[in-house]
Protein backbone atom coordinates (compact mmCIF):
# COMPACT_ATOMS: atom_id res chain seq x y z
CA UNK A 1 0.00 0.00 0.00
CA UNK A 2 2.69 2.45 1.07
CA UNK A 3 6.39 1.85 0.81
CA UNK A 4 8.91 4.34 2.15
CA UNK A 5 12.53 3.51 1.50
CA UNK A 6 15.62 5.30 2.69
CA UNK A 7 14.01 8.72 2.89
CA UNK A 8 16.39 11.56 3.71
CA UNK A 9 15.04 15.02 4.45
CA UNK A 10 17.17 18.08 4.99
CA UNK A 11 16.02 21.64 5.56
CA UNK A 12 19.14 23.68 4.95
CA UNK A 13 21.71 22.09 7.19
CA UNK A 14 19.14 20.58 9.53
CA UNK A 15 18.67 16.85 8.96
CA UNK A 16 15.15 15.65 9.76
CA UNK A 17 15.22 12.13 8.35
CA UNK A 18 18.33 10.10 7.68
CA UNK A 19 17.17 6.92 5.98
CA UNK A 20 13.59 6.34 7.06
CA UNK A 21 12.00 3.14 5.76
CA UNK A 22 8.60 1.68 6.50
CA UNK A 23 5.95 -0.42 4.90
CA UNK A 24 2.20 -0.12 5.32
CA UNK A 25 -0.16 -2.95 4.37
CA UNK A 26 -3.64 -2.74 2.94
CA UNK A 27 -6.48 -2.45 5.44
CA UNK A 28 -4.41 -1.79 8.53
CA UNK A 29 -4.37 1.11 10.92
CA UNK A 30 -0.75 2.16 10.95
CA UNK A 31 0.63 4.49 13.57
CA UNK A 32 3.58 6.83 13.19
CA UNK A 33 4.97 7.68 16.61
CA UNK A 34 7.78 9.83 17.82
CA UNK A 35 8.51 12.85 19.94
CA UNK A 36 7.77 16.39 18.78
CA UNK A 37 10.26 17.44 16.17
CA UNK A 38 11.08 13.89 15.12
CA UNK A 39 9.64 14.59 11.68
CA UNK A 40 6.38 12.67 11.83
CA UNK A 41 4.37 15.41 10.17
CA UNK A 42 7.12 16.03 7.64
CA UNK A 43 7.07 12.34 6.73
CA UNK A 44 3.32 12.46 6.25
CA UNK A 45 3.61 15.59 4.13
CA UNK A 46 6.09 13.75 1.95
CA UNK A 47 3.63 10.88 1.56
CA UNK A 48 0.83 13.19 0.46
CA UNK A 49 3.08 15.16 -1.91
CA UNK A 50 3.11 18.41 0.00
CA UNK A 51 6.86 18.13 0.39
CA UNK A 52 9.46 16.22 -1.59
CA UNK A 53 12.13 14.30 0.32
CA UNK A 54 15.76 15.23 -0.31
CA UNK A 55 16.51 11.59 -1.20
CA UNK A 56 14.89 8.20 -0.99
CA UNK A 57 11.81 6.61 -2.47
CA UNK A 58 8.14 6.70 -1.55
CA UNK A 59 5.49 4.68 -3.35
CA UNK A 60 1.80 5.12 -2.59
CA UNK A 61 -0.70 2.54 -3.91
CA UNK A 62 2.05 1.24 -6.16
CA UNK A 63 2.82 4.65 -7.68
CA UNK A 64 6.35 5.95 -7.07
CA UNK A 65 6.19 9.64 -6.15
CA UNK A 66 9.62 10.62 -7.48
CA UNK A 67 8.64 10.15 -11.11
CA UNK A 68 4.94 10.93 -10.89
CA UNK A 69 3.37 13.12 -13.59
CA UNK A 70 0.77 15.83 -13.13
CA UNK A 71 -2.20 13.72 -14.29
CA UNK A 72 -1.16 10.72 -12.25
CA UNK A 73 -0.67 12.92 -9.21
CA UNK A 74 -4.17 14.35 -9.58
CA UNK A 75 -5.62 10.85 -9.88
CA UNK A 76 -3.69 9.70 -6.83
CA UNK A 77 -4.87 12.67 -4.79
CA UNK A 78 -8.47 11.53 -5.28
CA UNK A 79 -7.70 8.16 -3.76
CA UNK A 80 -6.77 9.48 -0.38
CA UNK A 81 -8.33 11.64 2.26
CA UNK A 82 -6.33 13.77 4.68
CA UNK A 83 -7.40 14.94 8.10
CA UNK A 84 -5.23 17.86 9.17
CA UNK A 85 -4.38 18.44 12.78
CA UNK A 86 -6.57 21.51 13.09
CA UNK A 87 -9.19 20.39 10.59
CA UNK A 88 -8.25 22.92 7.90
CA UNK A 89 -11.90 23.24 6.93
CA UNK A 90 -12.50 26.05 4.44
CA UNK A 91 -13.77 28.81 6.66
CA UNK A 92 -15.85 30.52 3.99
CA UNK A 93 -17.89 27.38 3.27
CA UNK A 94 -20.47 25.62 5.42
CA UNK A 95 -19.66 22.13 6.69
CA UNK A 96 -21.91 20.61 4.02
CA UNK A 97 -20.21 22.64 1.30
CA UNK A 98 -16.83 21.61 2.68
CA UNK A 99 -17.79 17.96 2.27
CA UNK A 100 -19.40 18.57 -1.10
CA UNK A 101 -16.64 20.61 -2.71
CA UNK A 102 -14.63 17.72 -4.18
CA UNK A 103 -17.76 15.84 -5.27
CA UNK A 104 -18.87 18.93 -7.15
CA UNK A 105 -15.50 19.39 -8.77
CA UNK A 106 -14.58 15.82 -9.63
CA UNK A 107 -17.76 13.80 -10.20
CA UNK A 108 -20.78 14.01 -12.49
CA UNK A 109 -23.24 13.27 -9.71
CA UNK A 110 -26.56 15.07 -9.63
CA UNK A 111 -27.28 17.63 -6.94
CA UNK A 112 -29.59 15.21 -5.20
CA UNK A 113 -26.96 12.46 -5.14
CA UNK A 114 -24.36 14.84 -3.78
CA UNK A 115 -26.75 15.94 -1.11
CA UNK A 116 -27.44 12.34 -0.10
CA UNK A 117 -23.70 11.64 0.02
CA UNK A 118 -23.01 14.67 2.19
CA UNK A 119 -25.67 13.49 4.61
CA UNK A 120 -24.31 9.95 4.59
CA UNK A 121 -20.84 11.27 5.48
CA UNK A 122 -22.25 13.34 8.31
CA UNK A 123 -24.03 10.22 9.60
CA UNK A 124 -20.85 8.16 9.32
CA UNK A 125 -18.87 10.54 11.49
CA UNK A 126 -21.76 10.88 13.92
CA UNK A 127 -22.78 14.44 13.23
CA UNK A 128 -26.35 15.64 13.05
CA UNK A 129 -27.68 16.74 9.65
CA UNK A 130 -28.25 20.27 10.96
CA UNK A 131 -24.49 20.68 11.49
CA UNK A 132 -24.12 20.80 7.71
CA UNK A 133 -25.51 24.30 7.60
CA UNK A 134 -23.05 25.70 10.13
CA UNK A 135 -19.72 27.34 9.40
CA UNK A 136 -16.47 25.90 10.78
CA UNK A 137 -16.08 28.81 13.22
CA UNK A 138 -19.36 27.82 14.84
CA UNK A 139 -18.22 24.30 15.77
CA UNK A 140 -16.46 22.96 18.84
CA UNK A 141 -13.02 21.37 18.53
CA UNK A 142 -14.34 17.82 18.51
CA UNK A 143 -16.98 18.62 15.94
CA UNK A 144 -14.39 20.28 13.70
CA UNK A 145 -12.37 17.05 13.72
CA UNK A 146 -15.44 14.99 12.85
CA UNK A 147 -16.46 17.39 10.11
CA UNK A 148 -12.93 17.37 8.72
CA UNK A 149 -12.98 13.57 8.78
CA UNK A 150 -16.28 13.63 6.87
CA UNK A 151 -14.61 15.84 4.27
CA UNK A 152 -11.64 13.49 4.07
CA UNK A 153 -14.06 10.63 3.38
CA UNK A 154 -16.00 12.50 0.70
CA UNK A 155 -14.26 10.95 -2.28
CA UNK A 156 -14.53 7.42 -0.84
CA UNK A 157 -10.76 7.15 -0.39
CA UNK A 158 -8.83 3.91 -0.15
CA UNK A 159 -6.33 5.58 2.08
CA UNK A 160 -6.82 7.92 4.99
CA UNK A 161 -4.10 10.10 6.54
CA UNK A 162 -4.82 11.40 10.01
CA UNK A 163 -2.51 13.96 11.62
CA UNK A 164 -2.94 13.72 15.39
CA UNK A 165 -6.68 13.05 15.23
CA UNK A 166 -7.17 12.99 18.99
CA UNK A 167 -4.98 15.95 19.96
CA UNK A 168 -6.99 18.73 21.51
CA UNK A 169 -9.93 16.47 22.34
CA UNK A 170 -11.07 15.60 25.84
CA UNK A 171 -10.41 11.96 26.88
CA UNK A 172 -13.98 10.87 26.19
CA UNK A 173 -14.02 12.66 22.84
CA UNK A 174 -10.65 11.14 21.99
CA UNK A 175 -11.79 7.57 22.76
CA UNK A 176 -14.98 8.13 20.76
CA UNK A 177 -12.91 9.36 17.84
CA UNK A 178 -10.71 6.27 18.09
CA UNK A 179 -13.80 4.07 18.04
CA UNK A 180 -15.05 5.99 15.02
CA UNK A 181 -11.83 5.32 13.13
CA UNK A 182 -12.04 1.59 13.84
CA UNK A 183 -15.70 1.56 12.82
CA UNK A 184 -15.00 3.34 9.57
CA UNK A 185 -12.19 0.98 8.76
CA UNK A 186 -14.57 -1.96 9.20
CA UNK A 187 -17.28 -0.24 7.20
CA UNK A 188 -15.26 1.19 4.33
CA UNK A 189 -12.22 -1.05 4.34
CA UNK A 190 -9.86 1.92 4.23
CA UNK A 191 -6.21 1.83 5.15
CA UNK A 192 -5.47 4.37 7.85
CA UNK A 193 -2.14 6.09 8.52
CA UNK A 194 -2.25 7.94 11.79
CA UNK A 195 0.28 10.24 13.41
CA UNK A 196 -0.23 10.16 17.13
CA UNK A 197 1.36 10.33 20.52
CA UNK A 198 -1.80 9.41 22.29
CA UNK A 199 -0.85 6.20 24.13
CA UNK A 200 -4.49 5.14 24.40
CA UNK A 201 -4.84 5.21 20.64
CA UNK A 202 -1.56 3.38 20.24
CA UNK A 203 -2.75 0.52 22.43
CA UNK A 204 -6.36 0.32 21.31
CA UNK A 205 -6.68 1.07 17.61
CA UNK A 206 -3.29 0.84 15.96
CA UNK A 207 -2.46 -2.51 14.31
CA UNK A 208 1.15 -1.81 13.46
CA UNK A 209 3.33 1.22 13.93
CA UNK A 210 6.77 2.67 13.53
CA UNK A 211 8.62 4.78 16.04
CA UNK A 212 10.67 7.69 14.71
CA UNK A 213 13.68 8.71 16.75
CA UNK A 214 17.27 9.71 15.98
CA UNK A 215 16.18 10.64 12.46
CA UNK A 216 15.16 7.10 11.55
CA UNK A 217 12.67 4.34 12.35
CA UNK A 218 13.95 2.69 15.51
CA UNK A 219 11.16 0.13 15.82
CA UNK A 220 8.44 -1.14 13.54
CA UNK A 221 5.71 -3.71 14.10
CA UNK A 222 2.79 -4.55 16.36
CA UNK A 223 2.68 -3.25 19.89
CA UNK A 224 4.18 -6.47 21.24
CA UNK A 225 7.06 -6.23 18.82
CA UNK A 226 7.62 -2.58 19.67
CA UNK A 227 7.72 -3.30 23.38
CA UNK A 228 10.65 -5.68 22.88
CA UNK A 229 12.75 -2.78 21.59
CA UNK A 230 15.40 -1.48 23.94
CA UNK A 231 15.90 1.87 22.25
CA UNK A 232 16.00 4.56 24.94
CA UNK A 233 13.20 6.62 23.36
CA UNK A 234 10.89 3.59 23.06
CA UNK A 235 11.61 2.65 26.65
CA UNK A 236 10.91 6.14 27.88
CA UNK A 237 7.82 6.59 25.72
CA UNK A 238 6.23 3.35 26.88
CA UNK A 239 7.57 3.22 30.40
CA UNK A 240 4.57 4.15 32.45
CA UNK A 241 1.70 2.59 34.37
CA UNK A 242 -0.32 2.04 31.25
CA UNK A 243 2.36 -0.08 29.65
CA UNK A 244 3.06 -1.91 32.86
CA UNK A 245 -0.57 -2.88 33.05
CA UNK A 246 -0.60 -3.97 29.44
CA UNK A 247 2.51 -6.05 29.93
CA UNK A 248 1.11 -7.73 33.00
CA UNK A 249 -2.19 -8.50 31.32
CA UNK A 250 -0.61 -9.92 28.19
CA UNK A 251 2.50 -11.65 29.37
CA UNK A 252 1.96 -12.92 32.86
CA UNK A 253 -1.39 -14.54 32.28
Amino acid sequence: MIRVEGVVTRFGSRVIHDGVSLHIKRGEIYGILGESGSGKSVLMKEMIMLLAPTAGRIAILGTPLETIGVTEAQALRRKWGVLFQFGALFSSLTIAQNIEVQLKEYTNLTRKMRQALVHSKLTMVGLDASVGLLYPSQLSGGMVKRAALARALAMEPELLFLDEPTSGLDPIGARNFDALIVELRALLGVTVVVITHDLDSVFTIVDRMSVLADKRVVAEGSIDEILTSTHPFVEEFFKNEYTQKYREEHHHV
Binding site: M113, L117, S120, L133, P136, E156, A186, L187
Partner: protein
Protein backbone atom coordinates in the same frame (compact mmCIF):
# COMPACT_ATOMS: atom_id res chain seq x y z
CA UNK B 1 -30.01 -1.78 -24.17
CA UNK B 2 -26.35 -2.22 -23.35
CA UNK B 3 -25.94 -2.65 -19.64
CA UNK B 4 -22.67 -2.81 -17.79
CA UNK B 5 -23.77 -2.67 -14.20
CA UNK B 6 -26.95 -4.68 -14.40
CA UNK B 7 -28.43 -7.72 -16.11
CA UNK B 8 -31.92 -8.99 -15.70
CA UNK B 9 -34.23 -11.75 -16.87
CA UNK B 10 -37.98 -11.50 -16.72
CA UNK B 11 -40.43 -14.44 -16.69
CA UNK B 12 -44.15 -13.89 -16.05
CA UNK B 13 -44.01 -10.91 -13.78
CA UNK B 14 -40.94 -12.21 -11.98
CA UNK B 15 -37.87 -10.09 -12.40
CA UNK B 16 -34.42 -11.44 -11.58
CA UNK B 17 -31.89 -8.61 -11.23
CA UNK B 18 -28.14 -9.12 -11.11
CA UNK B 19 -25.90 -6.29 -10.07
CA UNK B 20 -22.39 -6.41 -11.43
CA UNK B 21 -19.29 -4.27 -11.95
CA UNK B 22 -18.29 -1.48 -9.62
CA UNK B 23 -20.95 0.71 -8.05
CA UNK B 24 -18.79 3.61 -7.04
CA UNK B 25 -18.71 7.37 -6.92
CA UNK B 26 -17.64 7.78 -10.54
CA UNK B 27 -20.07 5.17 -11.92
CA UNK B 28 -23.30 5.66 -9.94
CA UNK B 29 -24.67 8.20 -12.39
CA UNK B 30 -24.53 5.58 -15.13
CA UNK B 31 -25.86 2.88 -12.82
CA UNK B 32 -28.78 5.14 -11.95
CA UNK B 33 -29.60 5.55 -15.65
CA UNK B 34 -29.59 1.81 -16.17
CA UNK B 35 -31.83 1.31 -13.16
CA UNK B 36 -34.43 3.70 -14.55
CA UNK B 37 -35.27 1.48 -17.47
CA UNK B 38 -36.21 -1.64 -15.51
CA UNK B 39 -39.34 -3.46 -16.69
CA UNK B 40 -42.28 -3.56 -14.29
CA UNK B 41 -42.79 -6.69 -12.21
CA UNK B 42 -44.55 -7.57 -9.00
CA UNK B 43 -41.96 -9.98 -7.69
CA UNK B 44 -38.31 -8.98 -7.82
CA UNK B 45 -35.24 -10.88 -6.77
CA UNK B 46 -32.13 -8.71 -6.62
CA UNK B 47 -28.83 -10.50 -6.54
CA UNK B 48 -25.66 -8.69 -5.44
CA UNK B 49 -23.22 -11.56 -5.59
CA UNK B 50 -21.78 -10.30 -8.88
CA UNK B 51 -20.87 -6.90 -7.50
CA UNK B 52 -17.12 -6.27 -7.74
CA UNK B 53 -16.93 -3.10 -5.73
CA UNK B 54 -19.09 -0.52 -4.03
CA UNK B 55 -18.90 2.52 -1.83
CA UNK B 56 -21.42 4.62 0.02
CA UNK B 57 -22.57 6.27 -3.19
CA UNK B 58 -23.50 2.81 -4.51
CA UNK B 59 -25.28 1.91 -1.30
CA UNK B 60 -27.21 5.17 -1.33
CA UNK B 61 -28.31 4.51 -4.89
CA UNK B 62 -29.43 1.03 -3.87
CA UNK B 63 -31.44 2.45 -0.96
CA UNK B 64 -33.09 4.95 -3.24
CA UNK B 65 -33.96 2.39 -5.89
CA UNK B 66 -35.17 -0.13 -3.35
CA UNK B 67 -37.64 2.42 -1.98
CA UNK B 68 -38.92 3.03 -5.50
CA UNK B 69 -39.24 -0.66 -6.40
CA UNK B 70 -40.93 -1.60 -3.14
CA UNK B 71 -43.83 0.69 -3.97
CA UNK B 72 -45.17 -1.75 -6.56
CA UNK B 73 -43.51 -5.06 -5.86
CA UNK B 74 -42.08 -7.37 -3.26
CA UNK B 75 -38.30 -7.31 -3.42
CA UNK B 76 -35.97 -10.06 -2.22
CA UNK B 77 -32.36 -9.07 -1.74
CA UNK B 78 -29.80 -11.84 -1.96
CA UNK B 79 -26.06 -12.29 -2.27
CA UNK B 80 -24.91 -9.26 -0.26
CA UNK B 81 -21.81 -9.18 1.90
CA UNK B 82 -21.82 -8.32 5.62
CA UNK B 83 -19.96 -5.10 4.79
CA UNK B 84 -22.66 -4.04 2.35
CA UNK B 85 -25.29 -4.81 4.93
CA UNK B 86 -23.47 -2.81 7.61
CA UNK B 87 -23.31 0.20 5.37
CA UNK B 88 -26.96 -0.24 4.42
CA UNK B 89 -27.94 -0.40 8.08
CA UNK B 90 -26.03 2.78 8.79
CA UNK B 91 -27.26 4.75 5.82
CA UNK B 92 -30.86 3.69 5.25
CA UNK B 93 -32.01 5.83 8.12
CA UNK B 94 -29.97 8.82 7.09
CA UNK B 95 -32.05 11.83 6.39
CA UNK B 96 -30.95 12.64 2.87
CA UNK B 97 -33.62 15.16 2.06
CA UNK B 98 -32.87 18.06 4.36
CA UNK B 99 -31.10 20.82 2.47
CA UNK B 100 -27.33 21.21 2.65
CA UNK B 101 -27.26 24.80 1.55
CA UNK B 102 -28.55 27.57 3.74
CA UNK B 103 -31.89 28.87 2.48
CA UNK B 104 -31.73 31.97 0.30
CA UNK B 105 -32.79 35.10 2.04
CA UNK B 106 -35.39 37.39 0.50
CA UNK B 107 -34.78 41.04 -0.33
CA UNK B 108 -36.56 42.30 2.77
CA UNK B 109 -34.59 39.89 4.93
CA UNK B 110 -31.31 40.97 3.36
CA UNK B 111 -32.14 44.65 3.75
CA UNK B 112 -32.92 44.01 7.39
CA UNK B 113 -29.70 42.09 7.93
CA UNK B 114 -27.66 44.78 6.18
CA UNK B 115 -29.42 47.48 8.18
CA UNK B 116 -28.69 45.79 11.47
CA UNK B 117 -25.08 45.22 10.38
CA UNK B 118 -24.72 48.90 9.53
CA UNK B 119 -26.18 49.92 12.86
CA UNK B 120 -23.81 47.54 14.64
CA UNK B 121 -20.86 48.85 12.66
CA UNK B 122 -21.55 52.41 13.77
CA UNK B 123 -22.20 51.35 17.32
CA UNK B 124 -18.90 49.44 17.32
CA UNK B 125 -17.18 52.46 15.85
CA UNK B 126 -18.38 54.74 18.62
CA UNK B 127 -17.45 52.13 21.20
CA UNK B 128 -14.00 52.08 19.62
CA UNK B 129 -13.76 55.87 19.80
CA UNK B 130 -14.82 55.74 23.44
CA UNK B 131 -12.13 53.19 24.27
CA UNK B 132 -9.61 55.27 22.37
CA UNK B 133 -10.40 58.37 24.41
CA UNK B 134 -10.16 56.34 27.62
CA UNK B 135 -6.79 54.99 26.55
CA UNK B 136 -5.63 58.55 25.77
CA UNK B 137 -6.71 59.76 29.17
CA UNK B 138 -4.84 56.84 30.69
CA UNK B 139 -1.76 57.73 28.66
CA UNK B 140 -1.86 61.39 29.67
CA UNK B 141 -2.32 60.50 33.31
CA UNK B 142 0.68 58.20 33.36
CA UNK B 143 2.91 59.56 30.65
CA UNK B 144 5.79 57.57 32.03
CA UNK B 145 4.19 54.34 30.80
CA UNK B 146 3.97 55.69 27.30
CA UNK B 147 5.06 53.02 24.82
CA UNK B 148 7.94 54.93 23.25
CA UNK B 149 9.65 51.82 21.97
CA UNK B 150 6.59 50.66 20.04
CA UNK B 151 6.04 54.14 18.68
CA UNK B 152 9.59 54.39 17.39
CA UNK B 153 9.27 50.92 15.88
CA UNK B 154 6.09 51.92 14.05
CA UNK B 155 7.58 55.22 12.89
CA UNK B 156 10.41 53.24 11.41
CA UNK B 157 8.09 50.81 9.66
CA UNK B 158 5.37 53.18 8.48
CA UNK B 159 7.57 56.21 7.92
CA UNK B 160 11.16 55.44 7.09
CA UNK B 161 10.39 52.34 5.06
CA UNK B 162 7.80 54.26 3.04
CA UNK B 163 10.22 57.01 1.97
CA UNK B 164 11.02 55.49 -1.40
CA UNK B 165 7.47 54.84 -2.52
CA UNK B 166 6.02 58.16 -1.33
CA UNK B 167 8.99 60.07 -2.73
CA UNK B 168 8.69 58.38 -6.10
CA UNK B 169 4.92 58.92 -6.23
CA UNK B 170 5.26 62.61 -5.43
CA UNK B 171 8.11 63.02 -7.94
CA UNK B 172 5.96 61.54 -10.70
CA UNK B 173 2.96 63.64 -9.77
CA UNK B 174 5.10 66.79 -9.83
CA UNK B 175 6.44 65.73 -13.21
CA UNK B 176 2.98 65.15 -14.65
CA UNK B 177 1.53 68.39 -13.26
CA UNK B 178 4.40 70.41 -14.72
CA UNK B 179 4.12 68.70 -18.10
CA UNK B 180 0.37 69.17 -18.34
CA UNK B 181 0.30 72.81 -17.24
CA UNK B 182 3.46 73.55 -19.19
CA UNK B 183 1.64 72.85 -22.44
CA UNK B 184 -1.12 75.32 -21.56
CA UNK B 185 1.11 78.04 -20.08
CA UNK B 186 3.40 77.96 -23.10
CA UNK B 187 0.48 79.05 -25.30
CA UNK B 188 0.17 82.28 -23.29
CA UNK B 189 3.89 82.79 -23.09
CA UNK B 190 3.56 82.53 -19.33
CA UNK B 191 6.26 79.89 -19.05
CA UNK B 192 7.60 80.99 -15.70
CA UNK B 193 4.22 80.63 -14.01
CA UNK B 194 4.85 76.90 -14.09
CA UNK B 195 6.81 77.46 -10.88
CA UNK B 196 3.78 78.96 -9.13
CA UNK B 197 1.55 76.16 -10.34
CA UNK B 198 3.85 73.36 -9.27
CA UNK B 199 5.03 74.95 -6.03
CA UNK B 200 1.61 75.82 -4.68
CA UNK B 201 -0.34 72.78 -5.87
CA UNK B 202 2.27 70.35 -4.63
CA UNK B 203 2.81 71.79 -1.16
CA UNK B 204 -0.76 72.78 -0.48
CA UNK B 205 -2.75 69.92 -2.00
CA UNK B 206 -1.01 67.17 -3.86
CA UNK B 207 1.86 66.07 -1.67
CA UNK B 208 -0.29 65.67 1.46
CA UNK B 209 -2.99 63.80 -0.42
CA UNK B 210 -0.73 61.53 -2.47
CA UNK B 211 1.30 60.65 0.61
CA UNK B 212 -1.82 59.95 2.65
CA UNK B 213 -3.30 57.73 -0.06
CA UNK B 214 -0.08 55.73 -0.41
CA UNK B 215 0.13 55.36 3.36
CA UNK B 216 -3.54 54.34 3.63
CA UNK B 217 -2.81 51.54 1.18
CA UNK B 218 0.46 50.61 2.82
CA UNK B 219 0.15 51.11 6.57
CA UNK B 220 -3.63 51.17 7.01
CA UNK B 221 -3.91 47.72 5.49
CA UNK B 222 -0.93 46.46 7.48
CA UNK B 223 -2.47 47.65 10.77
CA UNK B 224 -5.74 45.90 9.96
CA UNK B 225 -4.07 42.66 8.95
CA UNK B 226 -1.74 42.61 11.98
CA UNK B 227 -4.40 43.33 14.55
CA UNK B 228 -6.89 41.07 12.75
CA UNK B 229 -4.48 38.15 12.78
CA UNK B 230 -3.83 38.74 16.48
CA UNK B 231 -7.56 38.68 17.07
CA UNK B 232 -7.99 35.35 15.28
CA UNK B 233 -5.12 33.68 17.12
CA UNK B 234 -6.63 34.98 20.38
CA UNK B 235 -3.50 37.01 21.14
CA UNK B 236 -5.67 40.00 21.92
CA UNK B 237 -7.79 37.93 24.28
CA UNK B 238 -4.57 36.76 25.94
CA UNK B 239 -3.40 40.37 26.31
CA UNK B 240 -6.71 41.33 27.92
CA UNK B 241 -6.45 38.55 30.49
CA UNK B 242 -2.99 39.81 31.45
CA UNK B 243 -4.38 43.28 31.92
CA UNK B 244 -2.73 44.71 28.79
CA UNK B 245 -5.31 46.95 27.20
CA UNK B 246 -5.04 46.46 23.42
CA UNK B 247 -6.00 50.08 22.85
CA UNK B 248 -3.12 51.21 24.97
CA UNK B 249 -0.61 48.70 23.61
CA UNK B 250 -1.67 48.32 19.99
CA UNK B 251 -3.87 51.18 18.87
CA UNK B 252 -2.34 54.29 20.45
CA UNK B 253 1.27 53.54 19.47
CA UNK B 254 0.21 53.04 15.85
CA UNK B 255 -1.85 56.20 15.76
CA UNK B 256 0.82 58.35 17.41
CA UNK B 257 3.54 56.85 15.23
CA UNK B 258 1.66 57.61 12.04
CA UNK B 259 0.81 61.13 13.23
CA UNK B 260 4.54 61.75 13.61
CA UNK B 261 5.60 59.92 10.47
CA UNK B 262 3.08 61.27 7.98
CA UNK B 263 4.03 64.99 8.26
CA UNK B 264 7.67 64.00 7.81
CA UNK B 265 6.76 61.99 4.74
CA UNK B 266 4.74 64.92 3.41
CA UNK B 267 7.77 67.18 3.80
CA UNK B 268 9.81 64.71 1.79
CA UNK B 269 7.02 64.42 -0.79
CA UNK B 270 6.90 68.25 -1.07
CA UNK B 271 10.54 68.30 -2.02
CA UNK B 272 10.33 65.38 -4.39
CA UNK B 273 7.22 66.80 -6.06
CA UNK B 274 8.96 70.11 -6.65
CA UNK B 275 12.02 68.35 -8.00
CA UNK B 276 9.72 66.46 -10.37
CA UNK B 277 8.23 69.76 -11.53
CA UNK B 278 11.71 71.20 -11.92
CA UNK B 279 12.82 68.32 -14.13
CA UNK B 280 9.74 68.61 -16.35
CA UNK B 281 10.14 72.42 -16.62
CA UNK B 282 13.73 72.04 -17.67
CA UNK B 283 12.90 69.39 -20.26
CA UNK B 284 9.81 70.99 -21.69
CA UNK B 285 10.13 74.72 -21.18
CA UNK B 286 13.86 75.05 -20.81
CA UNK B 287 13.62 76.72 -17.40
CA UNK B 288 16.91 76.20 -15.62
CA UNK B 289 17.09 74.91 -12.06
CA UNK B 290 18.46 78.23 -10.87
CA UNK B 291 15.62 80.20 -12.44
CA UNK B 292 13.12 77.76 -10.98
CA UNK B 293 14.46 78.07 -7.44
CA UNK B 294 14.65 81.88 -7.65
CA UNK B 295 11.08 82.11 -8.80
CA UNK B 296 9.99 79.56 -6.20
CA UNK B 297 11.40 81.57 -3.32
CA UNK B 298 9.55 84.61 -4.63
CA UNK B 299 6.08 83.09 -5.08
CA UNK B 300 5.80 80.20 -2.67
CA UNK B 301 4.66 81.67 0.62
CA UNK B 302 5.34 79.73 3.76
CA UNK B 303 1.62 79.56 4.47
CA UNK B 304 1.02 77.16 1.57
CA UNK B 305 3.55 74.78 2.99
CA UNK B 306 2.07 75.07 6.46
CA UNK B 307 -1.50 74.66 5.26
CA UNK B 308 -0.48 71.44 3.57
CA UNK B 309 1.45 70.25 6.58
CA UNK B 310 -1.47 70.75 8.98
CA UNK B 311 -3.38 68.09 7.08
CA UNK B 312 -0.67 65.52 7.84
CA UNK B 313 -1.55 64.62 11.43
CA UNK B 314 -5.27 64.70 10.62
CA UNK B 315 -4.91 62.28 7.71
CA UNK B 316 -2.58 60.13 9.78
CA UNK B 317 -5.09 59.95 12.59
CA UNK B 318 -7.89 58.95 10.20
CA UNK B 319 -5.84 56.26 8.46
CA UNK B 320 -4.41 54.71 11.61
CA UNK B 321 -7.71 54.88 13.44
CA UNK B 322 -9.61 53.16 10.62
CA UNK B 323 -6.83 50.58 10.25
CA UNK B 324 -6.95 49.68 13.94
CA UNK B 325 -10.74 49.77 14.12
CA UNK B 326 -11.09 47.43 11.17
CA UNK B 327 -8.45 45.15 12.64
CA UNK B 328 -10.37 44.85 15.90
CA UNK B 329 -13.54 44.14 13.91
CA UNK B 330 -12.04 40.95 12.45
CA UNK B 331 -13.86 37.90 13.76
CA UNK B 332 -13.66 34.12 13.55
CA UNK B 333 -12.28 33.29 10.15
CA UNK B 334 -9.45 34.09 7.82
CA UNK B 335 -11.82 35.43 5.18
CA UNK B 336 -12.76 38.20 7.55
CA UNK B 337 -9.15 39.52 7.57
CA UNK B 338 -9.31 40.05 3.82
CA UNK B 339 -12.70 41.73 3.95
CA UNK B 340 -11.70 44.11 6.69
CA UNK B 341 -8.34 44.93 5.14
CA UNK B 342 -10.09 45.91 1.94
CA UNK B 343 -12.63 47.93 3.91
CA UNK B 344 -9.82 49.58 5.85
CA UNK B 345 -8.04 50.81 2.71
CA UNK B 346 -11.26 51.91 1.00
CA UNK B 347 -12.51 53.75 4.10
CA UNK B 348 -9.08 55.27 4.70
CA UNK B 349 -8.67 56.63 1.18
CA UNK B 350 -12.23 57.92 1.11
CA UNK B 351 -11.81 59.71 4.42
CA UNK B 352 -8.55 61.27 3.26
CA UNK B 353 -10.21 62.65 0.14
CA UNK B 354 -13.32 63.78 2.02
CA UNK B 355 -11.28 65.59 4.66
CA UNK B 356 -9.09 67.14 1.98
CA UNK B 357 -12.22 68.62 0.44
CA UNK B 358 -13.28 69.82 3.87
CA UNK B 359 -9.91 71.52 4.36
CA UNK B 360 -10.24 73.22 0.98
CA UNK B 361 -13.62 74.68 1.90
CA UNK B 362 -12.34 75.70 5.31
CA UNK B 363 -9.21 77.42 3.94
CA UNK B 364 -11.23 79.26 1.31
CA UNK B 365 -13.82 80.43 3.82
CA UNK B 366 -11.05 81.63 6.11
CA UNK B 367 -9.49 83.44 3.17
CA UNK B 368 -6.18 81.63 3.42
Amino acid sequence: MKCIFLTYTITNDRLALHSQGEWRLHTVRQVAQELEHLPRASDITWDFSGLEGFDSAGVLLFIDTLKRLEEGATVHIVGYTPQQEAMYQLLHQTDTTSPIEPPREGVVMRMGVEGVALYQLWRDFFTFLGHLVMAWVQTLRHPRNFRFKEIVYHIHRSGLNALLITGLSAFLVGLVIAYQSGVQLEKFGADLFIVDTVGISITRELAPMITAIVIAGRSGSAYTAEIGAMKITEEIAAMRTMGFDPYYFLVIPRIVALMVALPLLIFFADMMGIVGGMVASKLQLGISMGQFVDRLSEVLEVKHYLLGMIKGPVFAFLIAMIGCFRGLQVAHNTESIGLHTTASVVNGIFLVIAFDALFSVLYTELGL
